[in-house]
Symmetry: D3
Subunit: 337 residues, 6 copies
């Protein structure tokens, strides 16, 4: 997607300028992994026009293999971003109806061929929310991935403003998650995308006050793992939203044997939190794919995504070294010179 953001903390079009970059769930994960020096290909459908050309150049500059992208369709999805601060929330306005991926024929992507030589496939709950054909395409992808022996991860990513084509999220996602090995979510995604929740007090209030009850997260992981026996891992990110500028950030991971709670970071001057969930997913994939033990992988994912909050744009432009330096205790922000 083309991401059009108002400059600084301005409201949309308060000035006649928009910062124009690219982003979107799966692309964000791809770039993050490429920055970690993995070989990553991004697969999608994009129209033949200069805007789409620029998005491909952008991905390529970040070392993502774009050779599998299919060209066709009428337009790219766009999202407008108005950054919030303090008590004023950030706002996202989607303009992605009839994008190339939303209108793509499920047969336009040859997953058999795409997965040749690949070992991991990551998908999100955003694509199946766009249109019936995109949902079909996503389902076909995960099925083929499993058949060809890839590990499949999925960020459930519930987006209230999408899901307008007549199906509810749980109807579609329940089928899709059956092919997933590594489930990733926040507390709201589990409930809204999968229809699974733990009844235990006022979640909303907890999130805003920062007094999280970790037992509930453990219970939630267990319920999801129970509902989807195919899942090997369920990870949940824990965001304490004190304000648009100040969040606490941590996560938990359940591997059916053990439940891990990560290091927690206090982020007091958020620069850009969009894409931090994707940065977590990428961090977790990196940790698991490179053979870190599960707890370390979780902490790598949380540290990586913590850093995302300090970087403008959707992409988490950090290296493995930078993440490891933070994990090793380097949260002091001292100038490196």
């Amino acid at each position: 997607m083309l991401r059009l953001k108002s400059p600084g903390f301005e409201r949309l079009l308060q000035s006649p300028v928009l910062e124009a970059t690219f982003g979107g769930g799966e692309a964000n994960v791809a770039v993050s992994l490429a920055n970690f020096s993995l070989n990553v290909a991004y697969v999608t459908v994009l129209p033949r026009n200069p805007i789409a050309d620029a998005s491909i150049a952008y991905l390529r500059s970040h070392n993502v293999d774009t050779s599998l992208i299919v060209r066709g369709g009428e337009r790219m999805g766009i999202y407008f971003l108005e950054p919030g601060a303090n008590q004023l929330p950030s706002q996202v306005i989607y303009d992605r109806a009839n994008s190339a991926i939303a209108t793509a024929d499920p047969h336009s992507l040859n997953w058999e061929r795409i997965f040749d030589g690949a070992s991991w496939f990551h998908v999100t709950g955003i694509t199946p929310a766009i249109s019936q054909s995109a949902a079909n395409l996503s389902l076909k992808a995960v099925r083929t991935a499993k058949e060809k022996g890839l590990t499949v991860s999925c960020d459930y990513n519930y987006r209230k403003k999408l899901w307008q084509y007549g199906k509810t999220a749980p109807e579609v996602m329940a089928e899709l998650v059956r092919y997933v090995d590594v489930g990733i979510a926040n507390e709201e995604d589990c409930q809204r995308a999968l229809g699974i929740r733990v009844e235990a007090g006022d979640w909303e209030q907890e999130v805003e006050t920062g007094r999280l009850d970790y037992n509930k997260y453990r219970a939630l992981c267990e319920k999801v793992l129970e509902a989807f026996p195919n899942l090997k891992y369920q990870a949940i990110t824990l965001r304490e939203s004190y304000s648009a500028s100040h969040n606490g950030w941590s996560a938990c991971l359940h591997n059916r044997q053990a439940f891990f709670l990560s290091t927690r970071y206090d982020i007091t001057d958020i620069v850009d939190r969009v894409g931090s969930g994707d940065a977590f997913a990428a961090g977790l994939i990196y940790g698991l794919i490179t053979g870190m033990n599960d707890e370390t992988a979780l902490n790598f994912a949380v540290a990586a995504s913590c850093l995302k909050h300090s970087i403008p744009g959707d992409f988490n432009l950090v290296s493995v070294d930078e993440v490891k330096r933070l994990m090793a205790g380097g949260a002091s922000g001292r100038v490196q010179r």
Copy 2:
């Protein structure tokens, strides 16, 4: 439409910034007339979102009455503009499929009520090019306007990249122009939008070399006036395109009695030529509505639209005084102090 232009002379997304203003044929005419201190209302359908809100605020800041705009539909049209220079042409990329106006029910605009108290209605060939329903809506508008005794002007405005819904331009425009009093076009619009042409050598080449044969323009006006007996005036703008930076600019007007050729301006350092045709239309409407004689009205229109080439954005932000100063010979560009 939201107009997204790359800064300076950059190619689209060469830098991660887009200049974001608003524009589009009818809106440009409305703003121009409001700058000339006429009472103008702009009528369209716009979605309920902050982007559309900003476009309305933008029109309102330029003194256009926006109270007749109907809110509804899913999205605003967008166009991307890449400015050219010298031998490199400017490029427009439309992203206006499924815009609110394209999908609007023809009944959503109550033309009877809209035209109460109005004396002039301006329409272009762009709206009917977008979709069948937009074409129906345009036809309904001109018919009602004529019934209620308004003067109707129409800029034929042929846009090759539109007209994709199954009808050709002449099929639709021939019907629409039957209700028009003042026809406005460039030499290509007459041929492509109306299917009327004068066979006389290589027009394309003439335009690029600047050696225009004015008799042909007279003949073309006469053919159009003959085909549409309802037309009182046919105006044609004459652009000599030496390069993207250097144009000659003039126009002609036929009022069935006489054929007038305007003053000609040499514009050597074009700042932004988008919207100059609309600035001409607005100038002509202003001249005719305020009772200038036909030749003066033509020269007012050409001077007004000449100035547009030196103003960034779609809108012709000049006053009547500034246009008249140019008509009075003030083309020297001396600093006003």
Copy 3:
């Protein structure tokens, strides 16, 4: 006034660029109320030049009726704003001597006609501080407003750098406030603009440490209400100034029957606090004019003005919905998507 601000956190003219918008007490209140969808007209005197034209266009874009503005005089007031952070205070440099409003003949504004059909008039202590004629004009306005049965609100707004024409603030304001129904101030305004204070420890220190003694504010309200029997309400905003970046924000309201203390907001990453007092005034007017009960009106005003701290520029560009969402507990700043 033209507001010229250095970009980001730069000192004035550290870079050769100034952000140029418009603002000023009464204009800020007008825009805020127009954003709340009330019908608002802004009345002032502005010169005939392109800068003043732009200020009018700016107000109009925000839906403020500008048809009552009188054109005349030599110049617009200007203020330069240098934004502070942490221990470095923001700095305002006024250049408003001889502005059109400062030199306006009190007869240039026909208040009788202006108030036709109006129900509320808002005035501040800034205009009478500029010049004797501006003070006369303000007095004439409030007197006429009362005669014609309008509700009058006044923000006492003491500005130390103004009040240079030979009268002290209390001399002028005591007369003006006699015609006011709703008095608005911060703790310093009451003392400096009206000469009314409560002796009770070190106010300055309280403000900077954030340990406010609410009984003193109640006592101060009561003293003001006693001194001006015409006042129906006295509101006082409570700003805890920990630093230029971090404030606590709340307010209190006395309606002669009861004293209300509002919700308190902790604002840790201030974007722009200029205009937050005006945002409070507008919020209170909106609450009272739309029939909220007094406590709700106070909380609406505090929530509205809390949001102002996160928006660049003088104007509080928020809707009623956004304010109500915050009042309903939505201070978490979670991304809206």
Copy 4:
């Protein structure tokens, strides 16, 4: 003066940004001469505020001695600049009433002391146009300069929008020019500032068509030299204004013995012509003060000011070497590498 210019070719406040630099006749000459490595002091009155501080820092950065500037008064003059192109003229809006120099007591500047050790004094017709006291101050300056044996140059610089305090330009300037050795003007200044003209056809038209009759300029020089026997030189700049983007640029000089016509430059893509007259004055002063022969001095002045048209801002930021390179034939603009 603070110079506030809209960015690019935008109309004033089309975007909420102004480019903020400094300029003004005498300051421009001072900076130009300092760039030519002469010792130059700039003398004026400036208020005590950060804007004036920044103007002094700006001059000092360009190597101008600012130690003689007197601090006092209320405000700095401001001018707004809207850049034109093609047929649209640039526009200057002055906001300099009540500036520190306009209100300065003529005794605030001790010219006796200021001129100690100095050899040349340059003054313009702008300062005496601002106010009676500024006129008095200017007269006192030139008289003292002559008494102390300095060479005095004066750019007559007629500014129609000034001269509002009750005297006409010729009334004041005729007295002032009696103390001048080197008079500098354009064709309009001679007529309007001094009331001297040569009746010979339509000057205005000549200027705009570029067909200049050089004999008239010679005659005009001679008439001025006749009227003011103290003048040793009269120089006149010759601007052919084809458009705001395209000028021809040359000048002539009469030294009572001979009349010289300079090299002529064709400037087709003007970047910023404000200050080019001052750049000419500085070039001429430099040529004469460093002992070039009169014709070379004239050509140096024309080459220096030709280059000014390609530099943004009021100041002519070129070195002696760069001017000489152009005089030596280097007008080809080939990249220096």
Copy 5:
């Protein structure tokens, strides 16, 4: 190299901002060819730091294969660019001493392996001008290229400010050109880089007046071809430098059988001419490598490099289609919509 350009037409550091992109002879050719959809690899030595990382990402975004780049050395070369206009020339300031490529051990690049599978090698006279080791490295490269049967092209590219390590250009270049098939130059390069000239009047003057004597260019080609019997082609670009804003642009090509003179373009509003020579080289390579006849290849090269003058930055961001459209007569710059 990192290219640091002052914004707009400002002198260097007139504002505290530099536009930061990348460029340099060989890189420019590589990007141009990649834009023409050829498979291109760029070979150089770059240090391990974020600036060099960004340069690689930049090349990669333009589809250039960067996998052969060797990392090492201390710094990247930098060049500062000050854009000229009219009579003010652009200025380049090199800061490339001790760059990674200047200090690279000639053995650090394994040309044998690099050339595997390649069919064409392009080199310029800039690299051998930097240091003795860079000269050695260049020589080694061309020798190996010839041994492995690649076609070798060389842009002689004389840079006066380089060549500081003790050898003259002709000493080194004469050896290097012995391995070249396609020689590319402007009239000055032949003389200064190779020491070959045709005595025939004042070349400098011709260039600046635009009255070129084509016979001299033919003679010059023939002399170069005579001196280097290995050369199959000699191309010379013909720039008529009327000013920094206005150039005529054409070229000629000698293939030992015939001498071709290209189409000529008049470029009146140059946006950025840096890199246009490289754009010509890339165009010629593209034409020859894809089997165009020699005259068409020449015209393709001239049209491609003509367009470069309208694009900011070092890189010629145009497609084959855009070049062909210009060759087909589309120089009118009409808006594409």
Copy 6:
């Protein structure tokens, strides 16, 4: 040095723009002192090019005497700055090898003459870290300064990425500090630049948690004063690095009689911390040179450098009045109007 910083919180070259200002230890101290209205000269070696010219103009604009700067050498040092936030540290990339000062002949600066009339000399540990000749030059400077009776201050300033020419920091610094009266450092500098440390738990951890043990700092001061009997003062800055956005800031001073601990400031929204150590040094010099008592001088230095954290760029652009206002308790950041 030229300081090239990515805009906002972007990673280096995330956008094609760099903010270009100047900075560096000694220059920062000089500008700070000049802002405090002391007479200050800055002494260095700079090449003859426009970049160095701009750096001199920049210093001159801030009132620093630049007449003692020697011109010569090949290039200016550059440093790239990537600003961090929260857990992401700022990053400095030096490109200063072979800068004019690094390659300068120690005899190029005539310290005897430079120190004529001077009373204080400030040096840092950065210059001797660059090259052997720069170390020699520094040593010569301090020796001459002592001989001529100047007070010498030195900021030990350890920079890990420098010190590459074969000597360790303690080898060189131990000699240099023998001529110093006022030693300035942070806790790490004492250990790494001088090789002096106090063994007492985990310093690193203390810094990051903010739980500082002041007795250790006292002990460290005493050890340094013992090792260098010439030192009259040892000052140490105490930075509590909670994150890149949030620091605690204070300092201590030992004058051999007494140990003073300063006021402590909590800086929660750091704008730019580069140069804050230099701002401290300048504050201390100012306090001591103007005769403040030692404790007041320390508090002046801490308040001055606290303010630096809120100002973009290397330079501490604050006045004595602003520092004193903060010392007097004005940390509330209330708008000054």
